[in-house]
């Protein structure tokens, strides 16, 4: 069969054709909303019209088979409208209240997980990991699955002081808001990468490789038409590997996962915050990384017990102090926690007013 004629630079289709009629009618005229259950909210328009949203968890990697099934459900209960959230949840948009309970029953029967709305854990933002990324130092989907099996109730039912945004990045490139999440995992390398001199000369652009290093650890090696790495300066970021595949930093023995905490992107109460280091290293331990899951659980439960209502993880830590955070969670404080990269002067303590 002949192919249809291609078009270029048409951009995305206009969104209006994908909006349920009740949304088209009340666009920009919403009055308020109520969270009815952890997986159900209703938005009310100034006109009195309502739309119910049923939120469902997603592993983000979806087979077309699953998407067809979601489409069937959306046809049956939602007039053929469906959306996804910025955290990759699936949202079924119901215009007729009569369809809410049957949709929920059908979703439950088919094994879907509803929840994620309000002060709890929503879907986990994560990267590709071993599933599809060339630079991954761990697997992201696997870590997410291992964590969320453990924290399942915090998605479906249990309340926390405020929302807790979890994220997983499979390397320090952090294709996900790991640097500003409540609790996040980021995979790190810990070994200076070996340099394959012969391949570097053939496939890499030496000045680009030198410029890629944030600590100026890379020098040219003219004799071999390659480069050398100063082992005392290398912080294993892997940026040289990104520009030069012949410096393969991936290491089954050396790669692992750090935990960072206390970041946020919204400005409610306090400004957006960066996540800070809570635990510098755990060995990769697939398929379930039990020590990491346990450490995250300790942080989550300490926060749940200790924080005031509406405090995000970072706001709770700001109030109690980092010394208290380490005491209350029992996490070990190590040399790696003290910044010796770019921000040391902003992170050291300058007063004797700390807690024991």
């Amino acid at each position: 069969m002949a192919l249809p004629k291609r078009q270029t630079d048409i951009g995305p289709p206009h969104f209006k054709q994908f909006l349920p009629p009740v949304i088209q009618k009340n666009y920009g005229k919403w009055k308020g909303h109520d969270i009815l259950t952890p997986g159900l909210m209703v938005h009310v328009a100034q006109s009195g019209d309502k739309i119910w949203t049923v939120r469902v968890a997603s592993p983000r990697i979806l087979a077309t088979e699953t998407i067809y099934e979601m489409c069937d459900l959306a046809d049956k209960y939602c007039g053929g409208y469906i959306r996804f959230t910025s955290r990759n949840n699936v949202e079924f948009l119901v215009s007729d209240e009569k369809n809410v309970a049957p949709l929920q029953n059908d979703l439950k029967a088919k094994g879907y997980t509803m929840g994620g709305i309000g002060p709890r854990i929503s879907n986990v933002v994560h990267t590709q990991g071993w599933v599809h990324c060339h630079g991954a130092a761990t697997d992201a989907s696997g870590l997410v699955k291992a964590m969320m099996d453990e924290f399942y109730d915090y998605f479906t039912t249990k309340e926390l002081p405020n929302k807790v945004r979890l994220a997983v990045a499979c390397c320090v490139n952090m294709c996900g808001a790991v640097h500003c999440s409540d609790i996040a995992l980021v995979a790190v390398h810990t070994k200076v990468p070996p340099v394959d001199d012969e391949r570097v000369g053939k496939i890499c652009e030496i000045p680009t490789v030198i410029a890629s290093c944030p600590t100026s650890a890379i020098r040219p090696n003219p004799a071999k038409k390659s480069i050398t790495i100063n082992e005392e300066k290398c912080m294993y970021c892997g940026n040289c590997f990104t520009v030069c595949p012949a410096i393969d930093i991936k290491s089954p023995e050396g790669d692992g996962v750090a935990i960072v905490v206390g970041g946020k992107v919204g400005s409610l109460r306090s400004n957006p915050k960066f996540s800070r280091l809570a635990a510098p290293f755990f060995y990769n331990d697939p398929p379930r990384w039990p020590k990491i899951v346990k450490a995250v659980k300790t942080i989550l439960e300490t926060y749940a017990k200790d924080a005031r209502k509406h405090e995000r993880v970072g706001e709770w830590i700001d109030r109690i102090g980092w010394e208290s955070f380490f005491k209350k969670t029992g996490l070990e404080f190590t040399f790696q926690h003290i910044d010796d990269f770019t921000f040391m002067r902003d992170t050291m303590r300058t007063a004797s007013t700390f807690k024991w």
């Binding site: 995305p12 997603s58 069937d72 469906i82 696997g142």
Partner: protein
């Protein structure tokens, strides 16, 4: 089709959270690619190492973006993923779909690719995971003829994204959905043909809740805000209290500017002191709402840690009207790009460039005056530059 034994991944089909392994297995029933993807991921779990090669240059004719080349490092063991390219389809604003459109996208994908997707990628695109080089052109013809185009990749404008804004939210201060659509259409060339020194991301958030993480994940963060007072429905305040809210503890004491008071009868806000953080409005959503002039704050620079540390975006333009056709915003973006293009090194993001050159040249290039809203605090060192014109325009002898 070779059946891979996957004891480690099978473990991740247990437990209540939806499993990505189950998804890969579903696709693997009919796709050789997905089947060998399953095998390679199991091998990674076993050896604790990834086996994907760097992206080569692949794409569709006339574009330099939208497809990311991906190849297995173990093609002999897993021939199905010898080529396993990613295709980014530009998502519609707010990630809304009709089932008709979504089915059509998936049917084409089943024909040309692995049957695996990301709904959605970190930047916002609908990500199609795994196809070979020959499939790219016919697949693009099928998608583009039905109204779908590719997103950004590489050193280009990346696919802009937005929160759902006025479509289902009472707080949006401008039409994020239309802004995202309109700006994406305006800059199709910059999106599809990488001509920048590095990537450039734009995200549109309707308010300071920032549901698209614009403040942390966009070189240009457009965050909705307003200028008028917060309107108070005192009866609804009582209603919140009746439903169990401790207004003093949860609202008054948590207000960052301490501009609110409540005596058990009347809630008061000193609007001149309010910094519009959204806490009270989000928590007392039935009682409080913004009013007056609407628009957005433009912040620049946020990015992940590579190369010299992560950045949150910095306020550059405290207030801009964001109304269709968004001419003022587009002009601003063009000026920012021009300055960035003239001054940056390869692989240097706008935030890093501002750090190197200073904020002043950027502000001068885009015609913005210095205002206290741009800084958290003034500098603490006594090392500042003066230009001759500063003495002519600012530090004149009659004043200083």
């Amino acid at each position: 089709m070779k059946k891979h034994v996957t004891p480690l991944l099978d473990e991740l089909e247990k437990g209540p959270w939806p499993s990505f392994v189950t998804e890969i297995k579903k696709a693997a029933k009919t796709s050789e690619m997905a089947n060998d993807e399953l095998g390679q991921v199991e091998y990674s779990f076993k050896t604790k190492k990834g086996y994907w090669k760097h992206g080569g240059i692949v794409g569709v004719l006339g574009y330099g973006a939208g497809v990311i080349g991906r190849y297995s490092d173990l093609p002999d063991m897993f021939p199905g993923v010898t080529f396993f390219h990613t295709v980014r389809l530009n998502q519609p604003s707010g990630w809304y779909y009709t089932t008709k459109a979504l089915r059509e996208i998936m049917t084409i994908w089943d024909k040309y690719g692995s049957g695996l997707t990301n709904m959605h990628g970190s930047t916002g695109d609908l990500v199609l995971l795994g196809t070979n080089t020959e499939s790219l052109e016919p697949m693009f013809a099928e998608y583009s003829s039905r109204g779908w185009d590719l997103g950004g990749s590489g050193s280009a404008l990346r696919t802009p994204s937005c929160c759902l804004g006025p479509s289902r939210c009472e707080w949006s201060n401008y039409d994020t959905m239309e802004a995202c659509y309109n700006v994406t259409q305006e800059f199709q060339d910059e999106l599809h043909r990488p001509a920048f020194n590095y990537k450039f991301k734009i995200k549109f958030a309707g308010c300071a809740c920032d549901c698209v993480a614009a403040s942390a994940r966009a070189d240009c963060s457009v965050i909705g805000t307003w200028k008028g007072p917060i309107l108070i429905d005192q009866a609804a305040v009582k209603e919140h209290e009746k439903q169990g809210m401790n207004i003093t503890a949860e609202i008054i004491n948590m207000c960052p500017t301490q501009c609110m008071s409540y005596d058990g009868k009347e809630l008061k806000i000193d609007n001149a002191e309010c910094n519009r953080c959204m806490h009270c409005i989000a928590k007392m959503h039935k009682a409080l709402k913004p009013s007056g002039e609407r628009g957005a704050t433009i912040l620049l620079g946020s990015k992940a840690p590579i190369v010299v540390g992560s950045l949150l975006s910095w306020v550059v333009v405290p207030f801009i009207k964001m109304e269709a056709p968004f001419t003022e915003f587009k002009d601003l973006i063009r000026k920012i790009w021009e300055w960035w293009d003239e001054n940056s090194k390869p692989r240097e993001r706008i935030g890093e460039l501002i750090e190197v050159k200073g904020m002043r040249p950027l502000l001068e290039a885009i015609g913005q005056p210095p205002v206290p809203q741009q800084v958290k605090e003034p500098r603490k060192d006594p090392f500042f530059f003066f230009k001759p014109e500063d003495f002519e325009k600012v530090f004149t002898k009659d004043k200083y």
